[in-house]
Each structure stands twice: as structure tokens, then as C-alpha cells.
């Protein structure tokens, strides 16, 4: 491993010497080993406490039959079985009748997104409004886990874990790409001529809208109810906890609750596996475009394999070790990348355009949220909301799990406001930079995209090659893709293991490994039979039920808050701020100027 590391470093630092001697495929393999081994090593580094022994002991189990029996015994058969069967059926159907399967799924998803577009838009707006209410209103004061509970995760850890889990490599690809696409095909709401100066503002605004407060609210409206019922009512940590006000904390092993959990596992594994498959294809497509390396079928499979290894190690070592460390590396790289882009990019132009777009985002937020603009909105906004809702079960559950000892207000602030500020800054910076590159003619990014059949992956490479320190930016860009994907997939692995385990049983190491490998296997089979896009459409469709469920959850939460938290002295943020003003006044009164 050391030699490969050294080889990788030589290749990166001395391309003139090494570049000719090593073929592109080897190069790719070396760089993948570089990323994978680095992240895996970081994940398995021992922590303060020496728990590595117990991990090893957990794996050292004899007898296959006994292992399987125990594995099945620890799981809820329905939650374990149904997703496995559905994925197997899908892969088989796709392999046997590729055209028919794709056609059917596309027809259904297209119809749903078109027919129920208004419903998705309305749900997201309700979610945002409810988050604002929790943030400012009296119930934001409720401390999860009792008034004396202390948060275990420090605030930076809390934010980092939530942010990196909730967002995958999409942010890396779409950061430079999304506003460029809207610049080429302006959204009907802003009605500007394509590629005109007027289109820039609308393009940036829509990118912020798609990745800002609305998107993150989808996680909070699942996360806050789950956290409340888990830490205040003793419900088990699973998505079905949102049904506590209707079924009671002990009624969560009934059929409706188990259906919800099964759906959550399906949506999570489907969402993550398709992301992994698509990201690996996009990653290698981008590399192929940039350096002319074609890897065929094996490249993506190897990529998924390496990623799965990292993910499994990270998930097995736990939230406080692997997952936390990868999340830390992720945020450090994220910040470093943004700082370098800001330093070498056109910061003046970006900040002007960004400020304008932020203003436009604030002014147009409600109209944008309610705008039903035909095919464009169905294709972009509604599809996007559905995708975020399909991730909500796992991301929301993770937010809930970390939130013991935090106030509801802090949960909402972190999960919605702070995280969207980070994504908004990112999209302003990268979107503004790529628009600048395109408009000043430094590089014809859209031309390159068209040459690749509209692939968004090439945007980043084109934009960064046009900036100073382009090689460094490209390298960081690739690293960010890998690490963002890994930090979402390791969390989802852990969450799915928790979801699929029987109530009150912590997932064993074997079960975490199983789910990590299962995700990887689904991704690999999608790559082999094709149909990642189709499965993604299918996974997006699960966003629909969760949009409905989140409305149910909000209704239930309102009911619970009204019954149990009313009149318990919770202060709204407005009252709290208001109560501070007179003290400032008296302060002046107490110390009058000397006469």
C-alpha cells in the first residue's frame, strides 16, 4: 500500500516523468487505491477506547448455519425480506425485458411527477413553514430527552455529521452545473432569453431554491417528530415512530408501522445504491472526458467495490469513529475547496451576482414554491423535491438519532438553516464561477456538455481547468466526490441496519456489513444490467409516500405538542428576544450619566 501511495504522489507531483510511463487505466487504479486506502485507514484508526477487539470477536463466529440463523433472528423478516425481493425482481426484470421495464417505470414516474406536482410543491412549502414555526415559536424550546439532557455530540460534530450525511456527491456535480443548465434553458418563471445576461440571475436563484431551505426542510419534518417520540415518548428509533401519536409508543410493531419501515429501507437502499451507481459512472465519465481514459464495465464496478469497502469499514467502526472522521475530512475538503475557488476565481463578479441572486431568492421564495410551470418544473423542481423526500427517512432518522439533549429549535436551525447556508454559499460560489467562465468565453462549457450528450459531469472539469491551480481543483473535486458519497453511504448503512433490526436490538457488526455490501451489490447489479436511471426513478417515486407521511408526521407532532407541551413554560424565540429588550433599557436607567 505504501508503494502505491508513493506512486500516486509521484504521479500527481511529477506528471512529466510519470505521465508517459503509466497508462491511463493504471493511473486511475492507483488514484482509486490512493483515495480508498486513505479513507479506510482513517476509518479504522483506533479511538480513545479500544473497542477494536470486540469488533474482531464479533466477526469470529463459527458455523455458517448458526450465523445465518442468528442474523435472521436479529432482523425483522418483513423489513429484511421485502426490499431484497423487490431489488432482485427489479434487476431480473431489467435484465430480461430492459425496454419494457424502463418504459413502464418512466411512464409511471413521469405521470406521478406531473399529476402530483402541485402536491409536492405544497408539501415542501408546508414543511418550510412548519420549520419556521418551530424555529421561532414556543415549541422550539422543547429539549429532547428531558430538560436536563446534555448533548453528547458537540455542535461542530453535530452539524458536520448532519450536513455530510444529508447530501451526497450531487452537490459536487451540480454545484458548477445546475445554474449553467438553467442559463441554457431558463426556467419559465423568470422568462429570460436563453444564454442572455438576464438569464444569469434566474439561473442562480433557481439553483439556490433547489438546494436551499426547501430541500433541507424535508429532512427536518421527518427528523424532528422521530426525535421527539424517541427521546420524549420512548418510541423505538425508526421511521415508523412518526406514527406514535396514532398508534402509541407500544403499537409500532403493527402492520402499518412495519410497512412504513419497509418502505424506508427500500427508499434508502434504492436511493443510496442508485446514487453510488450513478456517481461511479459520472466520476469515470468525467475522468474519461478529461483524460481520455476508458474503463469499460470494470471501472465502475471496481469503483463501487472500493467505495463499499470504505463505507462498510466506516459504518462498522461507528458514528463516533469512522463516520465522524470521514465527515470531518469531508467538511475540511469542502471548505478548502471553496476557499481555493474563492481565492483564484472571479470573487467580485460572483459576490455581485450572488448577492443579487440571494435577494431574488428571498423575494421570490413563496412564488417560486407555488409556481407550477409545466414540464420544466416537473422535470426539475418536483423531481428534486421527490428525490429529497426519498432520502428523508434515512437522513431524518439520522438527524433524530444525534439530537438527544438538543432543543427542537437547535435541531431545526442546524438541519435546515445552517446546512442550507452551506449549500447556498457553495452554489453561489461555484454556479457564479461557472457562469462567469461560460459568459466571458474562457471555456465553452456548454459546448462540451452538448458534445457529451448533456452530461453534467464534465462541467466541473471544464470550469476548473479554466481557473488558476486547475489541477489542484480537479484533484480536490475528485476527492470531494468520493468522500461526499462515502459519508452519505456509511450513514445510510448504519441507519438501515438499525431500521431492519428487531426492536430494541442493536445491529450486530455482521448486519452492518451485510447492509453495506447489499447496497454495493445493488449498485453493481444496476451497473451491470444498466438501468440506474430507471431505479433512480423508482426510488424517487418512494419520495411520494414519504411526502404524505411527513404531512402525517407534522399533524401528529402538532397534536402531541398541543397536548403535552402546552402551558409548560416554553418560550418562543420572539418572546425571548423581546424579554431582553427592557433589560437593555433598565441597564441604561441603572447607570445614568453623572450629573
Amino acid at each position: 500500500m505504501c508503494r502505491l501511495w508513493r506512486g500516486g504522489l509521484c504521479g500527481i507531483f511529477l506528471p512529466t516523468f510519470v505521465g508517459d510511463a503509466v497508462s491511463g487505466a493504471t493511473w486511475l487504479a492507483v488514484s482509486l487505491v490512493f483515495f480508498v486506502s486513505g479513507l479506510a485507514y482513517l476509518a479504522v484508526l483506533p479511538g480513545d477506547e479500544t473497542s477494536s477487539e470486540s469488533v474482531l470477536l464479533g466477526l469470529r463466529r463459527t458455523g455458517l448455519a448458526g450465523t445465518v440463523r442468528e442474523f435472521v433472528g436479529r432482523h425483522d423478516p418483513m423489513v429484511l425480506g421485502v426490499p431484497a425481493v423487490v431489488f432482485a425482481l427489479f434487476v431480473a426484470a431489467r435484465a430480461a425485458f430492459p425496454a419494457a421495464t424502463t418504459g413502464a417505470v418512466d411512464a409511471v414516474s413521469g405521470a406521478v411527477l406531473r399529476q402530483f406536482g402541485v402536491f409536492f410543491l405544497g408539501t415542501v412549502l408546508v414543511a418550510v413553514a412548519y420549520c419556521v414555526f418551530l424555529l421561532l415559536g414556543p415549541w422550539g424550546d422543547v429539549r429532547l430527552g428531558g430538560p436536563d439532557a446534555e448533548p453528547t455530540y458537540t455542535y461542530p460534530t453535530y452539524f458536520t455529521l448532519i450536513f455530510t450525511a444529508g447530501i451526497a456527491a450531487g452537490i459536487v456535480f451540480w454545484g458548477p452545473a445546475e445554474s449553467l443548465f438553467h442559463y441554457q434553458t431558463p426556467p419559465p418563471y423568470f422568462d429570460a432569453a436563453p444564454r442572455s445576461d438576464a438569464a444569469v440571475g434566474g439561473a442562480l436563484t433557481y439553483a439556490l431554491f433547489h438546494w436551499g431551505l426547501s430541500a433541507w426542510s424535508a429532512y427536518a419534518v421527518v427528523g424532528v417528530p422521530v426525535a421527539y417520540y424517541v427521546f420524549e415518548r420512548g418510541a423505538p428509533l425508526r421511521v415508523s415512530a412518526i406514527l406514535t401519536p396514532f398508534l402509541g409508543p407500544d403499537g409500532l410493531d403493527t402492520l402499518p408501522a412495519r410497512v412504513v419501515d419497509t418502505l424506508a429501507v427500500f427508499a434508502t437502499v434504492g436511493g443510496i445504491a442508485t446514487s453510488v451507481a450513478l456517481v461511479s459512472e459520472q466520476f469515470l465519465a468525467g475522468i474519461g472526458f478529461q483524460w481520455g481514459v476508458t474503463t469499460g464495465q470494470t471501472g465502475p464496478v471496481l469503483f463501487v467495490g472500493g467505495l463499499t469497502l470504505v463505507v462498510v469499514l466506516s459504518a462498522v467502526t461507528g458514528v463516533h469513529r469512522g463516520i465522524r472522521r470521514l465527515a470531518g475530512v469531508n467538511v475540511a475538503l469542502f471548505v478548502l475547496f471553496a476557499v481555493v475557488v474563492a481565492a483564484v476565481g472571479p470573487l467580485g463578479v460572483v459576490s455581485d451576482r450572488g448577492a443579487a441572486a440571494l435577494g431574488s431568492y428571498a423575494v421570490n421564495f413563496v412564488p417560486l414554491s407555488l409556481h407550477v410551470g409545466g414540464a420544466w418544473v416537473a422535470e426539475w423542481t418536483v423531481w428534486n423535491w421527490s428525490w429529497w423526500f426519498s432520502w428523508a427517512p434515512f437522513a431524518g432518522l439520522f438527524v433524530a438519532a444525534l439530537s438527544r439533549g438538543r432543543r427542537v429549535r437547535t435541531v431545526v436551525f442546524t438541519g435546515v438553516v445552517a446546512t442550507s447556508l452551506a449549500t447556498i454559499a457553495w452554489f453561489v460560489l461555484l454556479g457564479g464561477t461557472s457562469l462567469w467562465v461560460q459568459r466571458t468565453g474562457v471555456a465553452d462549457v456548454l459546448g462540451a456538455v452538448a458534445a457529451r450528450g448533456g452530461a453534467e459531469t464534465v462541467v466541473g472539469f471544464q470550469v476548473f481547468a479554466a481557473l488558476p491551480l486547475g489541477q489542484l481543483l480537479t484533484f480536490l473535486f475528485l476527492a470531494l466526490i468520493v468522500v461526499f458519497m462515502a459519508t452519505s453511504a456509511d450513514t445510510s448503512t448504519l441507519v438501515v441496519s438499525v431500521l431492519a433490526a428487531r426492536e430494541g436490538v442493536a445491529p450486530s457488526t455482521g448486519s452492518v456489513v451485510f447492509w453495506g455490501v447489499f447496497q454495493g451489490a445493488v449498485a453493481v447489479s444496476l451497473l451491470l444490467v444498466g438501468g440506474g436511471q430507471t431505479l433512480q426513478a423508482l426510488a424517487v417515486l418512494t419520495g411520494g409516500p414519504f411526502a404524505v407521511l411527513s404531512l402525517v408526521a407534522l399533524a401528529g407532532l402538532t397534536l402531541s405538542f398541543y397536548r403535552r407541551e402546552r402551558g409548560r413554560g416554553h418560550e418562543s424565540l420572539v418572546t425571548r428576544l423581546g424579554s431582553r429588550l427592557p433589560t437593555v433599557q433598565t441597564h441604561h436607567d441603572v447607570e445614568p450619566p453623572e450629573e
Binding site: I12, F17, G146, Y153, T154, P156, G234, L336, Q471, G504
Partner: protein, 403 residues
């Protein structure tokens, strides 16, 4: 509310709350002196790689914001990295030994290294900039840890200063005689000439053309090569000597850890050779001595640990805690007392036997913790007395004087 917070999901506890506190970065572990030293090492490595990269790039473009400000930017960009790397490698060694001088050197060199990426702004140089920027505050934060003075022997000081003095003499002299030299035009040429001459390379491109210049050159050769050789010897010699001496301590760390139920002999003296003869067939032995000559003379058959027998850490290396017994027997009773104290500090329960060279020291050795003290001279005297009377030599018990 009792019914609500009781009995939370045990899976939640186990998976998400295994500890009371989870911080993003464990600052205690990453902000100490050790990470600082390691980071300086990383800077040295990155500076070397970046320097090599810049050196190999034939069309090196200076795109950094400081390219216009830094004097001699091109040369600095080409050679600065590698030169800084070697300096920092030396500094890292010094920092590992916690030398104050190394800290000061690092605090000067790191900003200079940081100038390099700001001059070139090559992608390969940015990691260097980041590492240098991280290392600097970490070193400043841990400055208290690097507090050891650089101890130089008088010979080292003398040779170093005479070497420097000859350098100054040669440079100033050849510069002022530059009209009497071929191809010597400025200060740079003067420095070049002196170094080439002192190092006995003598390319011959700069040559004295008058008798005065020739005499001057001879003086530089005589003084300079002498000072150069002595300086190298004085600086490198001790390092090699200590390396050689360490080589005589013929046990590796892993061999040391395998020792068990052995006898440790602290110090080397007149009694050591017969002692070894007696014990060699009986048990495993380790001799601990400072005297590298004596250690070398003991040969390869005996386990030797070169180190101070009065130093507790050395005794810990000799595994005193699991030893069968300790024999303290050098020719210096004062040091033996210290060795007994050190031995009882490391392993209070081990049996310690000491040899006293003078009768008056028997009690002292006993009172600091030796379980048994043998007075060498009185034993000899008694044996002589018994022999002259024609008696059988008494059993060992009678020869001992109880402490």
C-alpha cells in the same frame, strides 16, 4: 416525566451514544509537540517534492502574487524547495530532540518555505503552503516543549568558528585582491572561489595570477582545508562514535523484551571477568556498562547493553523487573551506590548483590538497598590467612561479611 424518558431504545444507546462526549477533532491528540514535529517533517517532505517538481519543470511559470516582490524569484522557485527541504529535515531531527535552536530555525525557515508557493502558485506547491501554515501556529503553541540547549563541545565550537573565520578571511581577501585573480569579479565569485578551494575541489576557473595572490591562496588552502577537516571530524565524529558504541551494545529491542529470569550485571570492573565465567553456564546474563571499550572487549558471547547503569530508563530496558538478580560490581563504589539505588527504584523486589571495593563502603551499599554486600578485599585477606594456616578454604558463607 418518568414514563416518557425511561427505557429508551437500547439500540439507540449502543449505536449512537457509546460515549458521553463526541467531539469532531480530539484537540488534545493533534495539538501537542509530537504532531508539530511530525508536521514539520511533512513540510520538509512536501518541500522536497515541490522543489523537485519545480526543478524538473523546464517552463516553470511564476504565477504567484509574490513573484514580483521576492528577490531572485526564479532561482528561489527552482532551488528553494530542495534547499529548504534539507534544512527542515535537519531541523526536524533537532525538534525531535527538543532543541531550542531547532525551534528558532523552524520559525525562520517555515515562513520562507511558505513564500515558495506564493511565488510559483503551482498546484503541487499548495499542499506545502497549507502544511507550513498549519505547522507554524502548532510550533508556537508548543514552544515550551522545545527547551533543551544545544550542547557543543569546546572542540566543536573552536573548529566551527575557525571554519567560519577562514571563510570570511578568504572571501574578503580574495575580493580585495580580485584584480590579481583571473575571472574573479564580485562577491559571488569570491565566495565560490573560497568554497571550491576549501573543499579541495579546485575547478581552476578562478586562479591567482600574482605571487601575492598565490601566497594568499596557499594560506586559504592550508587554513581552510585544515579547519574544514577538523570541523567535519568534530561534528560528525561524536555522532559516529556514539553510533559505534551503541553498536557494541549488541542487543536489539526485541531481544531485550524476550529477557526473563536473567542476571543483570551493572557496571564493568575487575570482578566482571571471573563473575562472567561463573555465571555464564548457569543463566542468561546482561552486562550494562557505559564503557564502550570494555563492552567491545567482552566479545560477542555476552549480552551487552551500552548505557549508564545508574540511569533508570536503561535499567528498564534491561528488564530488571523480571530479572532473577542484579550484581553491582564496578571499580567505583560511589557509582555502585547510585546503581543500587537505581536498581531498587526500578525493581524494588529484585535481589541485589553488590561488591564493595573498600571495606568502609560496605555499610553504605547495604543501607541503600543491596540485599548482600561482598567486601572483596576482606575476602581476599581471609582466604590468604586460611591458606597460610593450611586449612581448607572455608565455604562461601563464612567469607561473607553480613551488612
Amino acid at each position: 416525566m418518568a414514563d416518557t424518558t425511561e427505557g429508551p431504545d437500547s439500540a439507540v444507546e449502543e449505536v449512537f451514544y457509546p460515549t458521553d462526549r463526541v467531539t469532531l477533532v480530539d484537540w488534545r491528540r493533534v495539538s501537542g509537540a509530537k504532531p508539530a514535529v511530525a508536521l514539520v517533517g511533512v513540510v520538509a517532505l512536501l518541500a522536497f517534492v515541490a522543489g523537485l517538481s519545480n526543478l524538473s519543470d523546464e517552463a516553470l511559470a511564476l504565477e504567484g502574487p509574490l513573484a514580483a516582490v521576492v528577490p531572485g524569484a526564479t532561482g528561489f522557485a527552482r532551488f528553494g524547495g530542495v534547499v529548504a527541504a534539507f534544512t527542515l529535515a535537519l531541523v526536524t531531527v533537532g525538534l525531535r530532540r527538543r532543541k531550542r535552536l531547532a525551534l528558532r530555525a523552524a520559525l525562520v525557515v517555515l515562513p520562507v518555505v511558505a513564500l515558495l508557493p506564493l511565488t510559483t502558485l503551482q498546484p503541487t506547491d499548495v499542499p506545502l503552503l497549507l502544511a507550513a501554515l498549519a505547522a507554524y501556529p502548532l510550533l508556537v503553541r508548543n514552544r515550551g516543549s522545545f527547551d533543551r540547549a544545544l550542547h557543543l563541545e569546546p572542540l566543536q565550537v573552536a573548529s566551527l568558528s575557525s571554519f567560519l573565520a577562514v571563510g570570511v578571511y578568504g572571501t574578503v581577501g580574495s575580493y580585495s585582491l580580485r584584480s590579481q585573480f583571473a575571472e574573479l569579479d564580485g562577491w559571488a565569485d569570491a565566495v565560490y572561489y573560497v568554497i571550491v578551494t576549501i573543499a579541495t575541489v579546485g575547478y581552476g576557473d578562478v586562479t591567482p595570477t600574482t605571487p601575492v595572490a598565490q601566497w594568499f591562496s596557499l594560506s586559504v588552502i592550508m587554513l581552510g582545508t585544515g579547519a574544514f577537516t577538523i570541523a567535519v571530524g568534530a561534528l560528525v565524529g561524536p555522532a559516529i562514535e556514539s553510533r559505534m558504541a551503541a553498536a557494541f551494545g549488541n542487543m536489539t529491542a526485541s531481544e531485550l523484551t524476550l529477557l526473563e529470569d536473567h542476571v543483570v550485571i551493572l557496571g564493568h570492573g575487575d570482578v566482571t571477568a571471573p563473575l562472567l565465567e561463573t555465571l555464564e553456564t548457569e543463566t542468561n546474563l546482561v552486562v550494562v556498562t557505559r564503557d564502550s571499550d570494555a563492552a567491545a572487549a567482552l566479545g560477542d558471547d555476552v549480552n551487552v547493553l551500552t548505557g549508564d547503569p545508574t540511569d533508570e530508563t536503561v535499567l528498564e530496558d534491561a528488564r530488571l523487573d523480571v530479572a532473577r538478580g542484579v550484581v553491582v560490581g564496578s571499580d567505583d563504589d560511589a557509582r555502585d551506590v547510585l546503581a543500587v539505588i537505581a536498581a531498587t527504584n526500578v525493581a524494588p523486589d529484585v535481589r541485589v548483590v553488590a561488591a564493595a571495593n573498600e571495606g568502609k563502603h560496605v555499610d553504605k551499599l547495604g543501607s541503600v538497598g543491596a540485599d548482600r554486600v561482598v567486601d572483596l578485599r576482606s575476602i581476599g585477606g581471609r582466604l590468604l590467612g586460611q591458606s597460610v594456616l593450611g586449612r581448607e578454604p572455608a565455604s562461601g558463607e563464612d567469607l561473607f561479611e553480613e551488612p
